[in-house]
Amino acid sequence: MSNEDLPADELPAQSEFVELGSGETALVVDVEGFEGPLDLLLTLARQQKVDLVKISILALADQYLTFIEAARKLRLELAADYLVMAAWLAYLKSRLLLPEQPAPDGFSAEEMANALAQRLRRLESIRQVAEQLLTRPQLGREVFQRGQPEPIAEIKRPQWSATLYDLLTAYAMRRQTKARAYVRMSKRTVWSLAEAREAIERLIGRSFEWSTLDHYLLEYLVEPSQRTTVLASSFAATLELVREGRLEVHQHAAFAPLYIRARANAVEGAAAEAGNG
């Protein structure tokens, strides 16, 4: 036999050959080349050169067993599958040779043999159709699609979404924040003590002349609405600065103008401080 009649598109590497010396058929087999016991059986069956329907299972079983015997003598490693098949064929052979008797599993030897023949036919036919399939023009081998397809460009159109809740939350939040911001603005019309103190320190500076607090305030803070708060804060800040010994304050009588001036030593001290800073 030869491997050429195998419907394979790829022949296995011929690694090992076994020649059976019996003579009647020069059986050259490559164990590595078989795809399992069924494949081996199919190859052997083809040697009977008859339709698989009319195959002699008995002869086939003999051939298979001969092959396995030879392979074992040569200490070829055979997969368990092959040996299982051999055992089963030996059993089948014995059944076929004996007069028919009811089998333990309910199948007659004839039925078992037919089932095997059917399996072989099925394998052979699938190989035939596989071969036919492969002879079809294949994409990328015999037929080609467009080499430079022109892909469809996607123009993305945004579909905007927002919920009524988003809308109302955003609106309420913004209006509210804005409204609160105005309230804070109106508080600025009050002059804080810190602001007053900073202003007085800045205004009097190094002036050692007596001058009225009113004079300073009217000159620099003319807005009438702020006079009260400015005067109150300034007076409080002035008293604090006096307590710290940085200002001198003088008043002739109740409700008379307040005179203030910087204290000389305090200014020196402050100047020294500023120098250090």
Partner: protein, 233 residues
Amino acid sequence: MSNVAEMRVIVGDRERPERAEELRILEALLFAAEEPLDEKTLAARLPLGVDVRALLAQLQNEYASRGVNLVRVAGKWTLRTAADLAWLLTREATVPRKLSRAAVETLAIVAYHQPVTRAEIEDIRGVTTSKGTLDVLLETGWVRLRGRRKAPGRPVTYGTTEGFLSHFGLEALTDLPGLDELKGSGLIEGALPADFNVPVPSDDPALREDEEPLEPGDLDLGLVPPQDRTEEG
């Protein structure tokens, strides 16, 4: 006319059996090629002595009226979709996008305070509103240009559309909650100045007394999408 048609039929019929095998080869080569092919490459695949240039001219002519044309680019030949069918090769896809916070806020202000100018929106929001924000809102189809305010600079006034109502599931603009409802739902809470109010919105399409109509050309402002915006997303 019928003469021409007849002639075509005859010519067409005669052409088919005469059509050179070389033309089939040429067209298969050009179809399968992954890049434009030059005449030398094509000639190498054709029977010796074939006039490649003449064949290409014939093929080009055959394809001229078809959906695919044989064109020459950089001295090489390739099949290309006919230029007038380029639109076939684009597909519009809608991409869901969420409005930015600034846009949602501006939209709400337009809804409640319409007709409203950009300066008024900015005054309410307390921040500058970018041109892009209003453009996006115009693109949504929820905001429209109403007219112009009769005031120095004649600023454009904005209002909402029917599309706005339908997107937000409002039967009418007056369905927008008022101050009491906003307070009731907890969206506005805490102390507010006495003069704080939420206007009763109206999208009456009739221009108000202080509005005048838009001029032709004003409408183009936000309705024609700039080319790049479509690609952006």
